[in-house]
Symmetry: C2
Subunit: 592 residues, 2 copies
């Protein structure tokens, strides 16, 4: 049975030593002192480890079942869902007027990491609801808000997002689902949607489907797509539940992982729908939530990696196999623990340095979303929009790789299901795909975000890195050498790649052939920046006589590892990019 | 339903244009002209695509079942096994005196690729038998050979290899299974073995287990391990089957993949065993087969990657999504096929260039094994011993990554089991683990093989690359620039890494912290060398007026891609290695 311990201490370090959130002028942040956030994280950690985590394997093993049109979730899910609801966790960062606690998004994110790491499939029921509720919050009428939000904030009703159809996922302009206007102002929705996470289940009284469809007679392609609220049960005027809407489950998909979440084919057969936001502006309504949703998926890369890592460390300390090459370290035992072996450490350090860097990146990103939403900070909004595809694409790719590495520590025991390590890789795999496959993230980054607002945001990013290096150099020679110099070099690589794209823009294939490499090198630079900031915060803490020296010294060692062993990947990505698009594009399709 | 097409044309190109096998002086190679090998490969391709491949998904879905102590294989496996046996495929490269066809190992390998790519789990029943038979061939008495080999070559009886125990895998010195000498010269074997592939099943009359155990009273640790033949049914003097040996299945493991193969816990409760080879020399007997076995597993990385790639290409050509950035390419359709998009091509070219390079590497490796075994070529033996961990570790890591990339082309459809892409990654994952986990391969490479025979073989490798470059440069400017220069640079990186290890050998952690990177950079250099050789062969063919121009031009384009986009990874690995062991080793275990 795998273990999971919530990273409360590390999260506190990031919130207070690195991001110094309670000193921020973002509305709501001044209440977030260390005692307050610590208390919340402690409680979230408890429910994660004690309630959600024990159901993770259960969900994987049992999966969801479709019985007479009704989806049954795995044993224990419903009880756990009630416990999460009762604790008020579902509305943590939702407005008070709809029953939430109105905390900043950064807190919702810190808690969300623990929930998702302890049980990803389970937490998706809540996560999709959060996304759907956010869309209603941003685009709904007052009536829609009052009808749906209180129930969704409490998760008495859950939500879904319906975009994909059998013949179109990324290219939603090809959509066939249609919406026919009715005399009463509602629409009749007809069509089939696939890959609908949490599409149906037995844990909520109602399910609020947000469905993209084309209003009959509207514009062609993506410009004719609108967003609709399609409840499983029609809500009567008094708030009670009325007729069953013809929005039914066609089947549950058999998947590689996240078995505990019901991934449904949804059939809409003239279902009653209500326009959410403006006609034909469905994509815009969806995209409002995109930064948050993609940050959430990026976080899943971190989550699965951390859960897998924690177990790999335990195994590496426990399993006795071979002797340290520099001399016996466990003379009383028949062999030394795996963790003495350099390649096992290389593997674990890869994981550790990624996980802690990713956690910093995610929380920094969440704080930018707060700055944008709560303070109206346009620069923060621009920067997080730029970084969103990096967070989503890089963290899920790397997070997946790290689950594979964690599995590898177990040898053959990592391949059998008994130890639970296979589940982490199988569950992590989806994050590279959904909410925009990672290739699409790279395209979004290079094809759209780089040039957005005249390239202002990427220039601001480089300026920020440069300023950071300038402001923090010359104080500690080792820090300059181990942290700032590698960061400078990596940032220069990234700039050179951007320059290459600009200088070779005549043929856009040059840039787009390098988009995936660019996304990864950007991710490395961001993690490098995070490690520099964490390293500096650790030096400061040590200089200020911090009690837990080992914690801060471990941070510095882990950061040095990342800077020396992972960050230099930027040079390789640059070389690939600068080789241009010819070798990528010149083969005729028939010759593949 | 996935497709699989055997790579007959590519294999023929490698055997005849690149390796020029029929001109070799390795005994048996002169018979291998293009017509002969082509006929064999055609037939092997047919049985792969028509018989084995259709059962691949069946095996994954049904898995093996343990019923009253007997393992039932998936529907259709037994019939297919009979067909493979009837075709004489099981003894292709086995000696004629035991019913084989005595072909060189390179042919067994070329055919084995097709079998394994079309159905990995199925082909393991035959593969393990081949391994066990090879051990008996190398170390058995005449009586043992005559008793077991004819039945094993025909696969009427199959074989297994029993090494791992619950508490020890890599470190077999910890082994507890014991062998008690009996008056009649046999032994009583007692102990539990785990992860026994093909451990039991319903497709053979008898199963010949090769079991490592310690003879009671023998030396401690690995020096007291001996190898035993433990048949499921005792073989009577007349060759008929006698008593059931107490060698029974404890359970079948639930695994991430290769569900069609029965991975068994085997319990030996005083089972009758016969010493194979010398007392206490069990590891040596096992290691005799190691180069072949590890090359076979390395090949599985290639196999799963190729099978996954073929499907990804079809999907990328078929699936319409979005428009090419440089202008509409499919004006009649609602969208362009995926394959027009640069990042999809980048992805597919990664796969294609790996697969074709890996195939060359595998067949080159097999030809070295033939040179060593059939010609007694000590240099070939030394070189393939050096390269074996590279073949196993690099090709399975990369092969797995490529299945993940192939799956990614499908978007959400890659994550559901319906399309079969998940199976390729799940099946590919085991190859990184068994037959020595890849970290152990890296350790073997850097800790043992590099310095073997005074470093003679690695020096010979560098010399070979250097000579190759020298002999082939100055004839074609583009070839020098696109192939030879990158190969030279990568080879220099590899040499610099080896130099770093030597210069920093005071602390062995410096080398061992870089072992994994070294294994990967060595793999890239080998694939670079293969691509140079394939590129040169293609130029020669074109110069000689080859009919199928597109084939050779595609080779050149694919090779240029590898050289420009993949090979430069060596520089990154070198940087990591040269950063030393400190960042890897300096954390106390408690701080992970």
């Amino acid at each position: 049975m795998p273990i999971y311990n919530a990273p409360t201490k590390d999260t506190q370090f990031l919130l207070h030593d690195v991001l110094k959130i309670s000193q921020s002028d973002i509305p709501g942040y001044n209440e977030l002192d260390a005692d307050f956030t610590g208390a919340i994280l402690e409680e979230a950690g408890k429910i994660s480890s004690n309630v959600l985590h024990p159901l993770n394997v259960v969900g994987d093993t049992e999966g969801c079942r479709l019985e007479n049109g009704v989806v049954r979730t795995p044993t224990g899910f419903k009880e756990a869902f009630e416990e999460v609801k009762a604790g008020g966790w579902t509305g943590l960062d939702m407005p008070e007027e709809f029953g939430g606690q109105n905390m900043p998004y950064v807190m919702g994110t810190a808690v969300g990491e623990m929930f998702s790491a302890s049980n990803s499939a389970f937490t998706m029921y809540q996560g999709l609801t959060h996304g759907a509720a956010s869309a209603i919050l941003a685009h709904g009428t007052d009536e829609q808000k009052n009808t749906y939000l209180p129930k969704m904030v409490s998760c008495d009703w859950t939500g879904t997002m319906n975009l994909t159809e059998p013949h179109c996922g990324t290219d939603l302009g090809l959509m066939r689902s249609k919406a026919e206007p009715q005399a009463d102002g509602s629409y009749k929705i007809t069509g089939q949607k696939i890959f609908i996470s949490s599409g149906d289940h037995d844990m909520a009284d109602n399910i609020v489907h947000l469905v993209l469809a084309k209003i009959v007679g509207g514009p062609e392609g993506i410009k004719g797509v609108s967003l609709f609220i399609v409840p499983k049960y029609i809500v009567n005027e008094d708030g009670s539940l009325g007729d069953r809407n013809p929005a039914t489950v066609g089947k549950i998909e058999e998947k590689m992982g996240i078995h505990g979440n019901s991934t449904c084919v949804m059939n809409y057969d003239g279902a009653v729908g209500y326009l959410l936001g403006e006609e034909h502006k469905g994509m815009r309504a969806m995209f409002t939530m995109m930064n948050e949703a993609r940050l959430g998926v990026g976080m899943q890369g971190l989550c699965q990696a951390d859960a897998a890592y924690q177990n790999a460390v335990e195994y590496a300390k426990d399993r006795l196999q071979g002797r340290a090459v520099t001399g016996v370290q466990n003379p009383e035992g028949p062999a030394d623990p795996l963790i003495v072996h350099p390649d096992i450490r290389r593997n674990l350090m890869d994981q550790k340095s990624f996980i802690e860097g990713a956690r910093a990146f995610i929380l920094w990103g969440a704080s930018m979303i707060d700055a944008a939403h709560r303070k109206g900070d346009k620069d923060a909004d621009g920067l997080i929009s730029l970084l969103t595809p990096v967070i989503k694409g890089f963290l899920t790719d790397e997070g997946y790789d790290m689950t594979v590495q964690a599995q590898q520590v177990y040898g053959g025991h990592g391949y059998i299901e008994e130890w639970g390590m296979s589940q982490y890789t199988r569950d992590a795999r989806i994050a590279m795909i959904y909410e925009g496959a990672n290739g699409v993230q790279a395209l979004d980054l290079v094809g759209r975000k780089l040039a957005a607002d005249g390239g202002k945001h990427v220039m601001a990013f480089f300026e920020m890195v440069k300023s950071y290096i300038k402001e923090n150099s010359g104080q500690d020679e080792a820090f300059d050498r181990d942290f700032l110099e590698p960061l400078k070099a990596a940032s220069k690589d990234l700039q050179a790649a951007g320059m290459y794209f600009m200088q070779n823009a005549t043929n856009p294939n040059n840039a787009l052939s390098g988009s995936y490499d660019f996304m990864h090198m950007f991710g490395h630079v961001c993690l490098g920046l995070m490690w520099a900031r964490m390293g500096k915060a650790s030096l400061d803490a040590l200089a200020n006589g911090a009690e837990d020296k080992a914690f801060y010294e471990t941070k510095l060692t882990t950061g040095r590892f990342y800077m020396a062993r992972r960050l230099p990947a930027t040079a390789m990505h640059l070389t690939r990019i600068q080789s241009g698009g010819d070798t990528v594009m010149s083969l005729d399709a028939v010759n593949f």
